[in-house]
Symmetry: C2
Subunit: 327 residues, 2 copies
């Protein structure tokens, strides 16, 4: 890109107000320099969003920025890490200020909310895509991994499940519903909140955790595989919002389908021993985020879905077609 | 991507042998976890290579991998940081094993050489591009930045300048020369070595440093701007290889032109006080990398080019068209 194009981009990225004390050097040198407190580990996650694959090229840039950062913050939340720094690689076909302005506004709004500082990156010319590398801090030995689930543990999820999938179906006009309800569900798809404070609160209490990015059915299997356990989910315990049930015209089974397969919710799925039930209640009380026990960790491997304690009599839509992505 | 496609990619990335002690958790969870030694800072750099912008879509995948990682390692070198960890975001139009196999082989070969471990990333479907975030370790307060040059300092470059530009001109068939010579210069373009050991050796000795990625003329201006000084370069002191002079048929001025504007060389440009000349000699002796004083730091601002102590009488090609990119 030509010099003036870089100047335009620099102007937008210079809008960042946040200056963390642990950033010794931010944008403008060959590298950024950051300092890590003694006895903390650094959690690092990278995710790309590519136009045409993860969002439409004409998607609202504010929503794209939100999604890119929120999905990465959700990975930090899943580790129990506190967000610290982010690097942004932005590939743009042209320098379009009507795209950059809302993108940066939305990006920095969310970054400020979670006290995460942009420390560097790269801006290149090419097909639209965004790659973020986020970093967070977690006390050594306290990170929540996928591999710690123990037989007998309870398995929980935060929030409600399925609203994001319902919102997406509405955006894609695959389904329709009352306008007010649609607006609520679409908002939940675009503005799902990463559960950073929950992840932090779960340190020392949860035995395993991950964020629900590909749907709870696909994601809990990562815990099962990496912890060498089986997981049993009781579909009647899945937390369903009143809006999701209204969207499904009260069809509980359809709502459960959506709850099981809905991705990009940024809810956390975690396991904890029965002995930690009280500790969990205390730790999560201040987060104001609800959590629900949806099953148990068992001996064996894989995932079983139960309905009122009996094997499911209905076929989970798309069961065989899930993209099981091991990050 | 479908499950089997992820399995294919996992297979290639599982080929990594390197396991650093400071990596508590690598690929396979929501985040990687790394530990930083007390009294060290973390240097972080992100660079993207996009097909069609930075390389041709049909470029040799081994060369693409080398360039992506080497250019990032060069940023660490410029800070005096020791490479530690890398995250790879790879966007591929299709899963092509004839592309992935040489890409990964080349990537891990270079990564192993510099003891840098792949700790995570993302693989997505879309137009071919590679974004790397590299991280390195540097003792706190000893990082080499662009802002420390002092009036009176000498200014140096490592290696020879201009070979990479000559190699590129041959690749693009803009110029031709003897086949053996062409092979040497093309190899230097594709296989320029990041000067990691030089960067490490310069800690505590150099006052400022950066890597030459856009040509020495463009890059030293970053030191001038961030250090609030002027820089004077004596073109007769530019280190020119015998091969570059042969490529230019002995036309020293053409060779100097190339030396001044050649990018992607991964040579370091640094400043150091005259009092440190002996320390520099000792520190760099073990690296087996030559270094050359090419000028002085002066009061004022901007860059002056001199020839035998007098202002240049010839026009530097493209002087007004340099892309001055402030990372």
């Amino acid at each position: 890109m030509a010099k003036n194009e870089f100047d335009i981009i620099k102007h937008y990225f210079a809008q960042q107000q946040l200056q963390r004390d642990d950033v010794a050097l931010a944008i403008g040198d060959d590298c950024a320099l950051v300092n890590v407190p003694v006895d903390f580990s650094v959690a690092v996650s990278t995710d790309s969003l590519v136009a045409g694959t993860h969002f439409l090229a004409d998607a609202d840039p504010a929503s794209v920025a939100y999604k890119a950062l929120a999905s990465n913050l959700s990975d930090l939340a899943a580790m129990g890490a506190t967000p610290a720094w982010v690097s942004l690689a932005l590939t743009l076909p042209t320098i379009d200020e009507t795209w950059l302005a809302p993108f940066c506004h939305s990006f920095f709004e969310l970054a400020n909310q979670y006290n995460i500082q942009l420390i560097g990156g790269d801006t290149t010319k090419g097909p639209l895509s965004i790659t973020l590398t986020v970093q967070g801090l977690v006390p050594r030995g306290q990170a929540l991994t996928r591999s710690g689930a123990q037989v007998g543990d309870d398995i929980y999820v935060t929030g409600d499940l399925g609203d994001s999938a319902a919102g997406l179906a509405l955006i894609l006009q695959q389904q329709h519903c009352d306008q007010h309800l649609a607006a609520t569900l679409i908002e939940r798809h675009f503005k799902a909140s990463p559960r950073v404070n929950v992840g932090e609160a779960l340190r020392g209490i949860a035995s395993a955790a991950l964020d629900i990015s590909d749907g709870v059915v696909a994601d809990v299997q990562h815990i099962a595989a990496r912890s060498n356990v089986a997981i049993e989910i009781e579909v009647e315990q899945l937390p369903l919002s009143a809006e999701l049930l209204a969207f499904c015209d009260g069809d509980r089974q359809q709502a459960q389908q959506l709850a099981l397969s809905s991705g990009e919710e940024y809810e956390l799925c975690f396991t904890a021993s029965a002995a930690n039930r009280d500790a969990l209640k205390v730790a999560l009380a201040h987060t104001n985020i609800k959590y629900t026990c949806i099953g148990k960790v068992k001996t064996g491997s894989g995932l079983s879905l139960l309905q009122s304690g009996k094997p499911l009599t209905w076929q989970l839509f798309g069961w065989d077609h899930f993209v099981v992505k091991d990050n």
